[in-house]
Structure formats: C-alpha cells, structure tokens
C-alpha cells in the first residue's frame, strides 16, 4: 500500500478547485492543486454545466477521491455530477487491484441502484385511453413509497441467501419470476458471481427479506413511456424501439438490505483503516486495501446486495408484466426486456492490461460494441444505457462506445443530476400545483404525498437534454432514442 495521509493545512483542505478546460467537453483539476492528490480530476461538461457544477462541492469531493491509495488515471466526473457524501454522485474512480483500495462510500448506500427498460408492441393510441386505470393497477400491484411498502412477498432466510448468491437466474429458474431469455439482457446476466450471503449481516437480511419487489421511495420510480424521437434507426431497431412505441422504465435498487451493507462496511472500515496506514480527507471515504480481509468481505457483501437489486427489479418487472397481460392479453401486452444496468457498483475491469476496481457512484457502465461482455444481439452496437430525466421531462436510451474505455473507464452519466436541494425544491414548487401541471401535460401520476412530489420536481434537476448531449459529443455514449413519460408511479 502506498503511503497516505499527507497532512493538509485547513486552507488546502477546503480550497475550492477551479477546473481548466482540457478538451471540447472536458475540464481538469491538476494534481498540483492539492498536495495529497495522486491523479488529476477530469469532468465531462460544457460551459453551462461546469458553471452549475461549480456551485456545489462536487469538485471538492472529487479532489478528495483523487487522494485514494492506488487510484489510477483520474478521478472522473460525469456531466450530471452533484454533491453527495464522500464521493460525489456522478463520480467514477478506478483503483488498482494490486495495491489500491475499495471504498464502500464510492458505491453508496443504494448498492446497484439501477434502471431497466422493457418494450412492448403497443402503440400510444392503444395505451392512452387506459393509461389512468393501467397506472392505478400497477400502483396497487407494485408496493411503492416509504412506510407503505410492506409488502406482498417475503423470502425465507434460505431463499434470501439463494437470491443474494445466485441473483436473477435463481429467481427465474427456481421461483419462476420472469422468462429465461431475460437473463441475456442484464448487466452480468443479473448475477455477480463473487457474492457471499454469509458476508451480509443479519440486520441487513432483516431489512431485505420482505423488500424484494418493492420500489421504495426517494427518487425511485416506474414510468410508462412513449418513444418520441429516434436518433439511430438501425440501433433502435436492434433494441426493439420504434417511434410511437410504448416502454416501461423501472428505477430502484437494493432497498434497506443494500443500505445496511454499506452502513456496516463504512463503520467497519472507519474503524480499521488506520491499521493499513490509510488516512482519508473525509471519513465517508473510509476504505481498505482491495486485497485485505475487510476489502474482500465488503466486495462479496456488495455483490450480494447487487444481486438483490437485480432481483428486485426483476420482481417488479414480473408484476408489471402481469398487469399488462391482464389489460391487453398475453401476446399484445408482452413486455420484452431491453436491458438492466446498475449505476452504483464496484467491479473489477481490465484497462490496457491493468485490472482496476471501478467504483461507479451515480454513473453507468458503458461498454462499447466490441465488448465480449455484451449479449450476442447487442455485440456490434454497444451496451444499452438508460438516462432517466425527471417527471415531466424526457429520458434517453443511449449505447456505450469503445472510446469510453479510454476516455471514462467505460462509464457515462446516470441521469439529469440534482441541481437543487429537496428543501429548496419544496420551497419553490407546490406539490399539488405540480401534480395538476403534469396531469395537464398528459402525464398520469401516482404519488401519495405532494411533499415528496415537490422534492422530485423537474426544476430540481439539471437539463437532461444538455447532460446527454455532452456525453454524446464527448464520445462516452451515443444517442439512440428519446422517450417521454405518460404515466409515473413515484416511489
């Protein structure tokens, strides 16, 4: 392990980074900015976004990330980056397997929070007349929200352990939740193979056993959408997308189980990292050498929580398929899985012959067309990436590029990115008024609380069109299609 913990003066510690343009869509903070930086900070943005990013402390947090032992290349910020805790949301860091650390805060509490897109053969004309009752039925079927989501389905402990270790293949093959072909269209086939259920605490299992198939709260949601723009006809056709087609987007993660895995691990690493001679500028960056027992324990527990999250989205998709089948019939109402991809994970990936632990916190893996990890139908076009906007705004379907391998550790953005605190959003937006406005725009809404609705108002987020344009122009993903919501179930 490299020595760490260069003493910083309070002035150095709190200095505000000023990024300098290093390319058409990239900005950098040089390692000379602070004595404890090991690599530069690099952010993908245009002029407007970099100005917006500079308003909160996300760049300062990325400078802190650049001090982690074993970090390679650069601490990266996607254009939707915003201030988080420890790592910024929209941050990516690759640490060397050989002598680097793993930091649970670099993945976050909602391990493998992610999105999956399903596509139907239905048209807008067929769905519009029944959008309200359809959304109502989905809201009755998929538990959503906080304190209201307990729960239709509970796993026995041995079943939960099986899900944690064997992921979606177990849910499909042993429990019958979903279709065998689904398994081809998920990141890592819906299972991280190094998962260990015995590395997940009883407390985490207590939180998770009855949360499989629940949406949760906060910014989680389920949307019925219509494809309203196609930028690449051939690629869209490969994904089964056509203008006017109907899709379903599910955004949720590992629920309380994942939160507890992160809580347990941060606490443990905070207590033991001094043993490894590690000092970090922010306690939430607590970490341990990847190869150490605490590092490996966390990596195995994180994978188990990631499998839980894949399973959670699988169960929700299964429930929604049931609703569509009842409404439109088995054939007409069929929902085909386009892909499922996480945006809060750590994975070992190879870059120019070097193995790195790629921490993505609020950032999406973006493998290009030549990646052997893609399912056969997507080889040659790239890995699907879904970028949710916010209620009332567009979401995007992108594809990964081979160039992203070098430019961004095969990563891209994950959403619009918050621009405004929840408190400010509630001060500026009246929940009931927002609900009326969305409904007037033809968007059916199910959200029990106007206060929660106001927290997630579109105006609280950055401009998703601009964020997506930046990743497209920077070459770290490319635009395929755009969708707009016609029904939103908010968690």
């Amino acid at each position: 392990m490299e020595p760490t913990g260069e003493s910083l003066s309070p002035r150095d510690r709190h200095a505000k980074p000023a990024p300098v343009r290093s390319g058409e869509r990239t900005w950098e903070v040089d390692p000379s900015f602070r004595p404890d930086m090991r690599v530069p900070v690099r952010v993908f943005a245009d002029e407007e976004l970099i100005e917006q990013i500079g308003r909160d402390r996300s760049l300062w947090q990325l400078v802190n990330v650049s001090t982690l032992p074993g970090i390679a290349r650069a601490a990266l910020g996607m254009p939707d980056i915003h201030e988080g805790y420890g790592f910024p949301v929209g941050g990516v860091a690759g640490t060397r397997v050989s002598d680097g650390v793993i930091s649970p805060g670099g993945i976050g509490f909602d391990i493998n929070c992610g999105v999956r897109l399903l596509v139907s053969e239905l048209t807008l004309d067929e769905i519009r007349p029944v959008a309200e009752p359809l959304l109502h039925e989905i809201s009755r079927t998929v538990p959503a929200g906080f304190g209201r989501s307990r729960r239709k389905f509970s796993l026995e402990r041995r079943q939960l352990d099986a899900l944690l270790e064997h992921g979606v293949p177990w849910l499909v093959e042993e429990m019958g939740f979903g279709l065998p072909e689904d398994l081809h269209f998920m990141e890592s086939g819906g299972v991280l193979s190094w998962a260990r259920a015995d590395r997940v605490s009883e407390r985490a299992k207590n939180r998770g056993h009855d949360q499989v198939g629940t949406l949760g709260g906060g910014n989680h949601f389920l949307e019925i959408e219509v494809v309203d723009a196609v930028y690449d006809e051939r690629a869209a056709a490969e994904l089964g997308l056509r203008k006017g087609g109907i899709t379903v987007l599910i955004h949720t993660g590992s629920r309380g189980l994942g939160h507890q895995v992160c809580t347990d691990s941060v606490k443990h690493m905070d207590a033991v990292m001094a043993r490894y001679g590690i000092e970090v500028p922010d306690r939430q960056l607590a970490c341990a050498p990847f190869s150490s027992p605490p590092g490996q324990d966390y990596f195995a527990a994180m994978a188990a929580a990631a499998n839980f999250a894949f399973g959670n989205r699988q169960m929700i998709a299964h429930m929604v398929r049931g609703v569509f089948a009842r409404q439109f019939g088995e054939s007409k109402g069929h929902l085909r899985l386009v892909y499922d991809v996480g945006h809060n994970t750590a994975k070992v990936e190879r870059f120019d012959g070097e193995e790195l632990v790629v921490h993505r916190k609020g950032a999406t893996r973006a493998f290009g067309p030549s990646s052997p990890e893609l399912p056969a139908p997507y080889r040659g076009i790239g890995q699907p990436i879904f970028i949710p906007g916010s209620m009332g705004t567009h979401s995007y379907v992108l594809l990964g590029t081979d160039a992203a391998q070098d430019l961004s550790l095969a990563s891209t953005c994950h959403g619009a990115g918050r621009a405004m605190s929840r408190a400010q959003s509630k001060r500026e937006v009246h929940g009931a008024e927002l609900r009326r406005q969305l409904e007037a725009d033809g968007i059916a809404i199910r959200c029990p609380s106007n206060a929660e609705l106001a927290e997630e108002a579109p105006s609280a987020y950055k401009d998703v069109d601009r964020v997506v344009q930046v990743v497209h122009e920077a070459g770290i993903a490319r635009k395929v299609a755009r969708v707009r919501p016609i029904g939103v179930l908010k968690g």
Partner: protein, 137 residues
Amino acid sequence: MIAPGHRIEGHTSEVRLALQAPTLRELYEQAAAALSGVMCLGSRPAPGARPLDVRLEARDAAALLVDWLDELIYQVEQTGLVFPAPKIHVASARRLHATITGEEPVEWKTPVKAATFHDLRVEEGDDGFRAVVVVDV
C-alpha cells in the same frame, strides 16, 4: 447554556442536520427529533407500541451519533413507526443507553437510507454541544 434545538439544512442531494444542546443527552434527543422531522410530517402515539431498549458503543462521539441515527433508521424500517422522543438513560461520548417508543407518522415525507460520516462533527463548547451530520435520503 445553549438551548436545545435542531435545523434541517439544505444539501444538493441529501439532508444536513445541525444539532445543538447543553448536554450530550439532549443532543441525542435532538438528533432523534430531527430525523423524525425529515421522515414525516408530525406523529401521534401508536397504540400498542412496545418500548425498545437500545444500547450502543462507538469509538468516538461522532461515530456514536451515526450509530444512534442508524439504529433509529433501522427501527423505523422494521416497525413502520418513528421515534421522535427517546428517553436517554446514559449518554457519554462513547456510550448510549436509551428507551425508544414508536409513534405513528401523520404523513410520511422523506425516506432516510442512512447516516453518513461526511462533514460529520460533534464539538463541545463552553455552552454545550454542537453537531452536524448528513443523512442520505
């Protein structure tokens, strides 16, 4: 001495709790009240709610504050109730013993995933204690 109180402050994506109290015991009470304030709009007694005994130990006062909030978050998720008014029996920088009794939220507001170590501080001054903790929402 400083009056017990708390503020829920803005943060781009999370929530920052600023706490103050003349004693550690009251500081932990304020932390519980602030957490409930984030999670729901008011609460009322829950019929049949059983008191729970909570005993925590941590390596320092800041870690103990995180543990305390995490314990409350866990119990909220397990019981579906909130815990705005704990009875704190023992409170030091490293040990906490409390009895908590759940209350029914009037309206759920913001789910809290966990307390974080980011920007975390617990400071003792001449007039009492001040703390800042960011919670992930």
